[in-house]
């Protein structure tokens, strides 16, 4: 699930497990930094990996799922529903941008979209902490503010990476689905109520 410059191919088999894990963790951490401080760089695109999106998606889905097994129709999404929305949403957006004539590869686009969920995962953590306090309009306002800021951050981060790959007269057509995707995730975060 990674692409790398294979310089020392044969020697990675003999290294300790700790080395392997730390190398991958460092790569993921470096990409997290790129998302948090978005600027025009190719790191996310060149060395794409899907570990980061997987970690983020699982974290988000675990935090968003409804707690007890109450009635089927009430409550927020199940783990599987969040997972499906994130991954199928990302795949659909990638297909859309490729069909419109973008020159980004399939996995690069999945990588960017997945990593840019990081601000929204942070928003989910903050919302969960805020919900521990007493409910009320101030509680809601704080959560709304945090979610809106993180939503804008996600959009800015992903367009910084994805915008250049589209032909100029179709940029808006490719960016709108990204907006819809993060809007739906933000909505799920905002309407989360603990049981």
């Amino acid at each position: 699930m990674r692409s790398r410059i294979r310089e020392f191919d044969s020697s990675t088999l003999n290294e300790s497990v700790q080395n392997t894990i730390m190398r991958d963790l460092k790569a993921v951490g470096k990409k997290f930094m790129h998302v948090l401080y978005p600027r025009k760089s190719n790191t996310l695109l060149r060395d794409w990996d899907l570990w980061g999106p997987l970690i983020l998606c699982v974290t988000l889905a675990l935090m968003l799922q409804r707690g007890s097994v109450d009635s089927e129709k009430d409550g927020g999404p199940q783990f599987a529903e969040v997972f499906v929305i994130v991954w199928f949403g990302a795949v659909t957006i990638t297909l859309n941008s490729k069909l419109l004539g973008g020159n980004i590869s399939f996995f690069q686009s999945l990588c960017v979209l997945g990593y840019c969920i990081l601000p929204l995962t942070v928003a989910m953590l903050v919302c969960r902490l805020v919900l521990l306090a007493e409910p009320g309009p101030i509680n809601f306002m704080v959560r709304l503010f945090v979610v809106i800021v993180m939503f804008a951050w996600s959009i800015v981060a992903s367009t910084a990476f994805l915008a250049d790959s589209q032909p100029p007269n179709r940029k808006a057509l490719a960016v709108y689905p990204v907006f819809l995707f993060y809007f739906v995730i933000s909505w799920m975060i905002l309407t989360f109520t603990p049981q």
């Binding site: 129709k73 199940q78 529903e81 859309n96 799920m188």
Partner: protein, 311 residues
């Protein structure tokens, strides 16, 4: 092709109208095409072509330019041909669906026989999510007014909305296209639309419901019904104006029946969505039903069990 790129198509109102009425005839632009090809062929071949061969050559090139390259359906570029639209074109098609005019056929004027799948797909997706989100918001606002209503973020509504909208926007055009193909023999002048053009018409006609659904957040009943009726009128008018030229030559009965079924299905979708997503009834079985309005006459969507208050 390089030649086609140089001879860019310019927009003229009369030409557009002429094209809309008689799409299969060549306009003057096509005639201007031929002499240029004529000259190019003559220059390339030197003096070896006779007069008859020159005419044949220009005819063939003109014919080849009209033929479209059709890659197989298993290749990626086949599907890419359905997304060959620019931002301005999509916006123009949306505007065309919002303001139907009697003389302007949506397919001929706005699609120009180049349907796209971007519009229908993303308009349906947006409408499904907006329905779920605003339905949820209505419940939140209703709970603020009356704390006895039990609120929960009903995520299953997203699934229901998505399924309903996508089924409507793809199965109804399929049925319509099948019906028009079946009645093809009766028509002389105008051929039926292709399946993709029908899907396109339906997809873009659903756009007007997106702002309407957002307006339905305002809990004033007469305003909700007014905006719903307005949106339905605009949308159905667009559909009727598009279908009328095709259906006009059929028997009177078939034409009227088809158009009324189309409008009726559209109305059913609108009322079904209104009742299913915007009914602020309590969800606990123990609590008595609050504000019991009329029973939802949903055809497409079945109401959840606790709401069978009429029993």
């Amino acid at each position: 092709m390089a030649a086609a790129d140089e001879l860019a198509f310019h927009e003229f109102e009369e030409a557009t109208n002429l094209l809309a009425q008689t799409p299969n005839e060549a306009t003057t632009r096509g005639d201007q095409l031929v002499p240029q090809q004529h000259v190019a062929v003559a220059m390339d071949s030197g003096g070896s072509y006779g007069a008859g061969n020159e005419v044949e050559e220009s005819d063939k090139t003109a014919l080849l330019q009209e033929e479209k390259q059709q890659p197989g359906f298993w290749t990626f570029s086949y599907y890419q041909s359905f997304f060959d639209v620019d931002t301005s074109q999509v916006l123009d098609r949306i505007k065309g669906s919002l303001l139907p005019r009697p003389g302007h056929n949506f397919v001929r004027h706005h699609l120009r026989n180049r349907p796209d799948l971007y519009g229908p797909f993303w308009i349906c997706a947006t409408l499904a999510f907006v329905l779920a989100v605003t339905g949820n918001l209505t419940l939140v606002l209703a709970q603020r007014r009356d704390p006895s209503i039990h609120y929960s973020p009903q995520f299953h509504k997203v699934t229901v909305a998505g399924t309903a909208i996508y089924c409507y926007a793809w199965l109804v055009p399929l049925a319509l296209w099948g019906f028009l193909q079946w009645r093809k023999g009766v028509r002389e002048r105008m051929g039926p639309y292709t399946f993709l053009e029908t899907v396109c018409v339906y997809g873009y006609s659903l756009f007007v419901f997106i702002p309407t659904v957002v307006l339905w957040l305002i809990p004033v009943p007469w305003l909700q019904w007014l905006s719903g009726a307005l949106a339905l009128a605009l949308s159905a008018t667009g559909l009727v104006f598009t279908l009328w030229p095709v259906v006009r030559e059929d028997t009177r009965l078939a034409a009227v029946l088809l158009l009324s079924v189309v409008v009726l299905l559209h109305a059913l979708l609108a009322t079904g969505c209104k009742f299913y997503f915007f009914q602020p009834l309590p969800l606990e079985p123990a609590a008595p039903p609050h504000q019991a309005t009329s029973q939802p006459p949903t055809v497409l969507l079945s109401p959840p069990p606790p709401r069978s208050a009429a029993a």
